[in-house]
Assembly symmetry: C2
């Protein structure tokens, strides 16, 4: 009997190798199908094949699922800026931040990112939260630039221009029919930024 319980427990563990990832997928799918308001934690857990208790081990509430990896995402930008060569210009340091961040969105995340973006676009409260998240990322990069002895307003403007570049590239990546991947779209957006101020 004792052995059976252990074996059952092991099976459960094997069945949840990525409970957080499956909960994320299930939540985004349900949000897209029914809307955020009409989706319950119980429904998310059921679709992911876990209990509600497991849900709350990873997330504080259903909206949290959409933003749970934001710390990881934000830290990539800052790491990129920090680790840029000592002689890099402020803009080159920001570009290093974008290059570090682009790895967060490999080709296989594109479909999920499209669904997530549609969910957020349909919900003003989530839009505000997304904007606050990106404002935080910009402020993090600006602070990392100031640590590199870049003064304001250059630090703030460089960081925000970088976020504008990423935002435009990311919107392109999600657009229907766009087949280029994020790194190439970031190149294009950087060329657009440079062309603006060239004349």
């Amino acid at each position: 009997m004792s052995l059976t319980v252990i074996s059952y427990h092991r099976t459960m563990v094997r069945w949840e190798p990525d409970a957080a990832g499956r909960l994320r997928t299930a939540a985004v799918e349900l949000f897209a199908e029914r809307g955020v308001d009409a989706t319950t934690v119980a429904a998310i857990a059921e679709r992911a094949g876990v209990t509600e208790r497991t849900f709350f081990r990873y997330f504080t509430d259903k909206r949290e699922v959409l933003f749970a990896d934001q710390g990881q995402f934000a830290s990539r930008f800052v790491t990129g800026v920090r680790e840029a060569p000592a002689g890099a210009s402020p803009m080159d340091a920001v570009v290093a931040g974008l290059r570090e961040a682009q790895g967060f969105f490999p080709p296989e995340r594109r479909d999920g990112a499209r669904v997530r973006a549609a969910v957020i676009a349909a919900n003003p409260g989530l839009q505000e939260r997304e904007l606050l998240k990106m404002a935080g990322v910009a402020e993090g990069m600006a602070a990392a630039l100031r640590d590199r002895e870049v003064a304001d307003p250059v630090a703030t403007i460089a960081a925000q221009a970088g976020i504008a570049v990423l935002g435009a590239a990311f919107a392109g990546w999600l657009a229907e029919g766009e087949t280029r991947e994020l790194p190439e779209l970031i190149d294009e957006a950087l060329r657009a930024l440079r062309s603006l101020t060239a004349s």
Copy 2:
């Protein structure tokens, strides 16, 4: 008796030549003194010397006071972009939008703007709303650029770079000890943007 009433009524009207403006000042003062949550519409109306009914003639709720003129503000940017000369580059059209908008903040609005900014900085919900407002302004300028046959990603990036310039200049304008006015700070921020992409 009838004459007295008329005269009383006229006096009331004379006492409210700018009820909306006085309500705005009273609200921002009280928010700064007590916080937004602890401030009631009754207290705002009382300080402005009007009734609560008058308050609700102008605003739907107390937070609305902080954002009531946002339509007017946003339309200045779009007007500037639209009315830029036909041959203006995308960035020059955006600069025309900023020049139109800077008139919204004459020197005499600086103290009030500082208090409003402190109130918003102390309140995450208001920060989100402010970000959403500025995102809307950027999108309005981007749409006006697209009407001028500027394609994306250039249109979006130009508009967002413009908002980054304005934001940096505005933060400078509100900073303690800064004596330069907004037009000069916008010049400085534009030079910062141009320096970024010059190399």
